[in-house]
Symmetry: C2
Subunit: 304 residues, 2 copies
């Protein structure tokens, strides 16, 4: 990660967390403040028992199918009465209600602000600032890769060139299909619905169609008509339960959902008492994701 | 106000506040839960002494020149050890630091979420969710009237027709000049700078130019070039202090600042650790302002 920036160093002094252990797939395991990586611990349980932390931070790569192994990691931490902070949307999208209940039973905190929109306040807005308001639905433009692909095709490039451009920007998962087929958006949609609307769904229950059927010809045709395409996540309460879908929607160029620059994301909440309002993140990167984890860590501290 | 909507009634049962008195310029004064309006109390002090509330809610009309009489009302409430909630940006724009200090001395809360963006979380985001982050600046499109005037002229109408349209929508102050000359935006800019950047400024210190020099011809010319105009509030820290300005800025039609629909507002925060993120309110009305006051009331309650 190189040298920390000056503000980051100042903040570290203000919030003196100690890292008691790091457990990774590639680099092995380190236990004890400031120690080097050694051989990998035999299991997550062995690692957690030796690291003896107050807070476990779960940052494994998203498994879109079932949210594992992150869910098991989190359960193992709860079993040891550790608070858990995660930036991984998988556990929230697949098992939020069960994990929230397990945290309550263990008497610990469970925080995941970076799971959607990289540290921009989403879940914390609802945790702290909206007393008495019920979320009736939401509308979000939450996937950056699909947008880069659309914009590449509008400029005359191919689908594959768009995916390569997104990969070069560092915003695409190892498997870009996950983004353009809509599964990244479906996981975020399920996570939002589980936390804000008690939906108890999995990403598989989100009606999902990606942008894979878009062609450069079709996009340039729409462009000539002042229109574009965005992968839009929508959730709403219906008499039959929470309805969730991800679609490549055709939008006027001046639609708020179409106007976020670059890799920016936008999320609108539809509510009973507060009408529609929302949150926007401009060109977020790994620093913002890291900040979300940091703010979650701070929220696990005893109140002063 | 007519019949309360169903969700509003349910919420009233969940949050049983009692109104102990109402003091108005036009309708006189009522003291005691459920009592009728009678003659106006002789002074704000007399009213506050008779109403004996835990929380005073200040909702007088904004005086852009000096923030009075709201500032005196708030001081009178603090002197009686009442918490204060206000939706009035005047006191925040003109005297925030002094009022905040007075509240601390009196051991009471001072809340004003609706002063900017009508109940959409702005100040509460910073009160509750961004530990360790410093606001370096902000960019906002915060005045709806000027936007309606611009859009009217783009469609071929006159400046005056635009003002009349905004007045018909109920979004314009009694004196529309206050909006189009930029003073409403300047007051919001000063309020944001005072609270989020410790600026200790007044609206008079914001470099302000409104949209009054715009003509229908100029706007249609820009429209043909894919551009439009928005009244933009900007604040940033400089080595010489906080720099604040309000300008009619020429923007591409697809700029995020130009894309908010109707009377919607958008505010972006520029920060040290969290890059740029922001908040948006879609077509807010008096219900949203009222919600901001309500959420402020809830935040004055003892923590359960």
């Amino acid at each position: 990660m190189g040298q920390a920036s000056r503000p980051a160093r100042v903040k570290r002094e203000q919030y003196p967390f100690t890292i008691t252990g790091i457990h990774t797939l590639r680099h092995g395991t380190a236990v004890g403040a400031g120690s080097e990586f050694g051989p990998r611990a035999a299991s997550i349980e062995e690692f957690l028992d030796s690291a003896r932390a107050d807070i476990a931070v779960e940052l494994t790569t998203l498994n879109p199918v079932d949210g594992e192994p992150a869910i098991s990691h989190i359960r193992a931490a709860f079993a040891r009465r550790m608070h858990v902070v995660t930036a991984n949307k998988g556990p929230i999208a697949h098992a939020y209600a069960a994990l929230r209940n397990a945290a309550v039973l263990a008497g610990v905190h469970f925080r995941f602000e970076s799971a959607v929109m990289d540290g921009t306040p989403v879940f914390n807005i609802w945790r702290h600032t909206m007393p008495g308001v019920r979320v009736l639905g939401f509308t979000g433009v939450l996937n950056s890769t699909s947008k880069v692909v659309v914009e590449t095709m509008e400029r005359g490039g191919t689908f594959e060139e768009g995916l390569a451009a997104a990969r070069a920007m560092g915003i695409t998962e190892a498997d870009g299909a996950f983004d353009v087929e809509g599964w990244d958006s479906a996981a975020k949609t399920a996570a939002l619905a589980n936390v804000l609307m008690d939906a108890e769904v999995t990403p598989q229950q989100v009606s999902t169609r990606g942008i894979t059927r878009m062609t450069p010809e079709r996009l340039r045709e729409m462009n000539d008509q002042g229109k574009t395409v965005r992968l839009v996540s929508r959730g709403r309460r219906t008499p039959g339960g929470v309805s969730l879908r991800v679609r490549a929607e055709v939008l006027p160029r001046q639609d708020l959902l179409a106007c976020t620059p670059g890799s920016s994301n936008l999320l609108l909440f539809h509510t009973d008492l507060m009408g529609t309002f929302g949150t926007v993140s401009i060109e977020p990167g790994v620093e913002q994701t890291a900040y979300g984890v940091f703010s979650d860590l701070v929220s696990c501290l005893p109140k002063m």
